[in-house]
């Protein structure tokens, strides 16, 4: 009887106690989180293609790797009939993009790797067999390459997954010939190629990296933020690929073979850019102060504190000194590393773990187009450069590798020259066998290069002294080799005390001084709004 009295009393008593303990303050609020992984593309398992390729289908071409390659493409297209059309619409195929506007030109230009000049190897044109080993096709050896023939597409370079597929230098994009095995193996070339075909999968780092990590003709040469370490990077090299195991195509998302992403060297507008905000939120930091930077500072600026991690990238290429013997050049320039001079190319400077240069960039760029006049050859010529300034609300401070060097121009017509470098009648071929004197070698190469390019060239057999050397620079936005928050730049890297030099030259960027102390773009009335934020809203 006692029990029946006590227990009913205890139950409400305990509820009261619990209630008292819980009362007082509301439950904690869930913090808003940046959840980039949720934005990653989800892929189903790739179909096993081993069943789709039989050696009998290649019996008539079994002795010719090139023909096997073309046949393989046809086999792919049998099952993927729309693939050719989509591939052949891409800039990966044409090495030219859509027609784009360039400041100072009334008409849009359709340019790309195929017809532009850079300050590395200078141009593809006239040097196709060497350069097109990185083309996604077979047989682009001259200006007559048939871009309409779908058999010329190389499916394997992007889709094979053995990691052993090689398109050797100088073979116009055809695959490497296999070594003949011992014994009687009449089908060895077919077996060799079918091994690649049967392995096809979604593009991996190996597929992309084989060309893009070796841009400029060697590992790490061109881009600064791409090199062989990116095949299997530690998180200190790249947080996305190192810690989070992302593939290139997780960010460079692809639809109908149109791969997202731009390179400022060949594309001058922000269309189809890969953006950090494809996965990350616009305000990804826990600190409001850091989030306030995102209107002015690109993510890359803080999160790519250095580029060329692991392997040195080329920072300077002086073509004007090519043609000497290695020994003579090393002595003349006081070089100690043989990589810093190449008789057929000139003087190089390499650097690793390089601090970028910082400029405003609104996604658009200016570009020197082949044949453009050079105003003043005594001044540094920017082959490309980012557009935007402190008054441009769409511009952000962005990190760049700036590759500088000296390259040839026509002193009469005042435009950049394209040397034919590859082949027996190219500068490299002639220099390797010391054919002609250096002046004549250059003359022949410019004459041949100009002919292929449709460029005017003043030089003649009687007057070969119509070319000179001018200093040029190219800007390469840095977007890979991303550092984690723990490795990103810190406030003091840019906002220094007592006028000490920091990463950013505020005055060169258009500020009166350090905006942390003098106020940012809105406070200083440099702009009226940030992408939809008016000054009043921002101040609130």
């Amino acid at each position: 009887m006692k029990v029946s009295i006590i227990f009913p009393a205890l139950v409400p008593a305990s509820l009261v106690v619990i209630g008292v303990l819980m009362a007082g303050e509301p439950p904690p609020r869930e913090a808003q989180k940046d959840d980039p992984r949720a934005a990653l593309p989800q892929r189903s398992e790739h179909v096993d293609h081993r069943q789709f390729f039989n050696a009998e289908d290649f019996a008539d071409v079994r002795d010719d790797v090139k023909q096997i390659a073309h046949r393989l493409t046809q086999k792919c297209l049998d099952c993927h009939p729309d693939a050719a059309e989509s591939v052949m619409a891409t800039s990966h195929w044409h090495w030219r993009g859509e027609a784009m506007s360039v400041p100072g030109k009334e008409e849009k230009v359709r340019v790309g790797k195929a017809n532009l000049i850079n300050n590395f190897c200078i141009s593809v044109q006239s040097n196709w067999p060497r350069c097109t080993s990185c083309h996604i096709g077979y047989g682009w050896e001259d200006a007559n390459f048939n871009f309409e023939d779908e058999k010329n597409i190389d499916c394997l370079v992007c889709h094979e997954s053995t990691g052993t597929y090689v398109k050797p230098s100088g073979d116009s994009g055809y695959p490497e010939e296999p070594k003949k095995p011992e014994g009687d193996h009449p089908n060895y070339k077919v077996d060799y190629m079918l091994n690649f075909a049967k392995s096809v999968n979604f593009p991996s780092r190996d597929n992309c990296g084989t060309c893009h990590f070796a841009g400029g003709g060697g590992d790490a040469v061109k881009h600064g933020d791409l090199n062989g370490f990116m095949y299997n990077p530690s998180e200190n090299i790249d947080i996305h690929m190192g810690r989070h195991n992302l593939n290139c195509v997780d960010c460079h998302r692809t639809e109908n073979h149109e791969i997202k992403g731009r390179s400022m060297g060949v594309s001058f507008d922000p269309k189809n850019l890969v953006r950090c905000t494809d996965c990350h939120s616009e305000q990804p930091h826990q600190q409001d102060r850091l989030n306030a930077h995102t209107h002015t500072v690109a993510c890359q600026t803080c999160h790519i504190p250095t580029f060329a991690k692991g392997a040195a990238t080329k920072m300077w290429w002086d073509w004007s000194e090519a043609g000497m013997t290695q020994e003579a050049a090393m002595k003349k320039f006081g070089l100690t590393d043989p990589h810093d001079y190449n008789p057929i190319k000139g003087v190089f400077k390499y650097a690793s773990d390089v601090e970028p240069e910082y400029y405003w960039y609104n996604g658009h760029a200016n570009r020197h187009i082949t044949g453009d006049k050079i105003d003043d050859p005594t001044k540094l010529l920017s082959i490309n450069y980012p557009l935007g300034d402190v008054r441009d609300p769409n511009a952000r401070i962005f990190p760049f590798k700036v590759h500088r060097g000296k390259q040839p121009y026509d002193t009469y017509y005042k435009h950049l020259l394209v040397p034919k470098t590859y082949g027996e009648d190219g500068f490299w071929g002639m220099t390797e066998v010391q054919k002609h004197d250096i002046q004549t070698r250059w003359h022949i190469s410019f004459k041949n290069g100009a002919a292929e390019h449709g460029l005017k060239y003043r030089g003649s057999e009687t007057d070969q002294h119509t070319f000179g050397w001018l200093e040029t620079e190219m800007f390469w936005p840095q977007t890979h080799m991303v550092a984690s928050a723990d490795e990103a730049l810190q406030c003091n890297d840019c906002h220094t005390e007592n006028g000490q030099a920091g990463r950013l030259d505020w005055k060169a960027l258009g500020y009166e001084g350090d905006p942390a102390r003098q106020g940012g773009r809105l406070q200083m009335n440099l702009i009226d709004q940030y992408e939809g934020w008016t000054r009043e809203e921002w101040r609130r």
Binding site: L10, V11, V17, E25, P28, Q286, Q287, Q490, C491, G499
Partner: protein, 637 residues
Amino acid sequence: MSARFNLTLCLALACVSAASGQRLHPQVRLLDAQGQPVVQTGAPIDTLKTCDGCHDAAYIQAHHFHSQAGQGEPTHPGARPWDLSPGLFGRWDPLTYRRLSPKDDPRVDLTPEAWTRQGTRHVGGGPAVGAQLDCFLCHVNDPDHEARLRALSAGQGAWAATATLSGARPAFIIPSDDPARPWRYDPAAFEPDGHLKRGALNLQTPSDKNCGLCHGAVAGLQDEITLSTGIEHWETETTGQIFSAQRIKRSQINIEEKTQLGRPWDVHSERMLSCTSCHHAANHPSAFAERSETRPDHLKHDARILTMSQYLHRPNHNFTKGDSAQGTIEESLDHSMRRCEGCHDANAVHDWLPYKSRHMQALLCETCHIPKLYAPARQQTDWTLIDTQAQPLVAYRGLEGDGEDRAALVTGFHPVILPRDGEATAPKKLAPHNLITSWFWIERSGATHTPARLVDLKAAFLIGDRHHPDLIKALDTDGDGALKGAELRLDTADKVAAARARLIAVGVSDPQISGEIQPYSLHHGVAAGRFVLKSCEACHDESSHLTRPFELSSYVPFGATARLVGDTNVSLNGEIVGEAGRLVFKPDTREAGHYILGHNSTPYADLLGLLSLLGVLLGVTGHGGLRFLAARRQRSK
């Protein structure tokens, strides 16, 4: 009037300098004590004469607790009986050991002259004998602190400030072989009228590096941070604090699991604050904030502040300060600096924290935001014996190995959480601290107790560079004829007796071992983000961060006890116990008036909870049982 004109001129020049990208301060004429340009007379620089042209040097001297060093201030209640002041000058410190002797002391330990010669951590002026207030030590970007200390040590106090300036580059103060004039001036650096040429001297507001000369390790982003123990890095030695924006993982210190430490040594340094951002001149117009005790409630900000020229004429060098456990000087300035709440709105960013206001009532921000120190800090100083270099035996917490060994493994340490005195009516807040235990001999003569003099320790324990044979006989356990390592411990009655006999033999009266625990508040080394103590379990479970045992001393001299210094603002909320030869402090938050849910238990609450649980269980079971029985009865009908 002249000073005002000069100041106006200075400001005008400053504007020109600023506009031209030069540093703010105009070039100065370096004057000697007679007011003549030193480049003409060759005499030492007189800082007061040099600076007095624009700044009121007498005012600055009079309002400068760094210079006065506690001279003339009364000691705090609870201070040691032999302390003469609450500051560096006159307050005995067992880390440096030397005790300033009163004027009439028959057994002189340290005279003001000898104190001045030591030089360390004092800016000159005030009680220093023959060494002026050294403005350059704090106001040039490249002071030669070592040269200054050498000058003081050599008894050339008049040349100390000149020596400080010898660090300027390109050098215009050059060492000389003339002992009467140890420095000479390069005339090429001076204008004909005695002014220094532009760029020769960069006078500036004190940078972190200036402060770090006396206060501890500071470093820029690119500076090398290495393991450095020793009292010349005072704050670092006593607290493990390093003020730097640099990420801990990038330092050259061999820190356990360093690669995980992507946080800066101090987040405020990372966010571009410098020492003077918080510890600024008390009358700095842009930083001045009237204290809440005197500010009318209706007034958020009093605009009636000094103009910049008034301030520059008379900058009050009593810098704003907090109220640390170890800082006993200039009590009137306690709490004059902005604390965390003065800049941060903690409420705005702690929505995730349950019972937010309760946490903030009970804890200083530092308790969660300084969860661990990643440089070693001193744990104990034992002067009961000295080594052959006349140094005490020192042990560190957070360090495996020798503090002199740069490769020694730093494990870091979790601070002890102690209740700190608040406002009279406010509860004691819990705050992080380091505790340093010191063991030393007390000389007793009647009612007078003083620490045994260092000179007596040397005379008693050493003969040349060896220990006294009587000590070796009593302490040399390995029989190698020398005392080293653990042999230098008075951990038995026989050893204590041997040391005591030696002290008596040299005239120390009735020596007895005493122990003292000095708390050091931790306010730097602040973390943010994921490095902050955030998980509930950190405090609210059995092994709470708040009650983690804290080793005070790795051994205890035989028969000795240690107690908290009397002039501090914290209390030891727990018990000091001996454990396996060690001395350990075991905090108990209940003694500080804090009941920690999940950690503390109260019998009646536990019983009530148990009864409630049983009640619910039995209620449900009984109700179910009755329903079951009723159903059976229903069916049987």
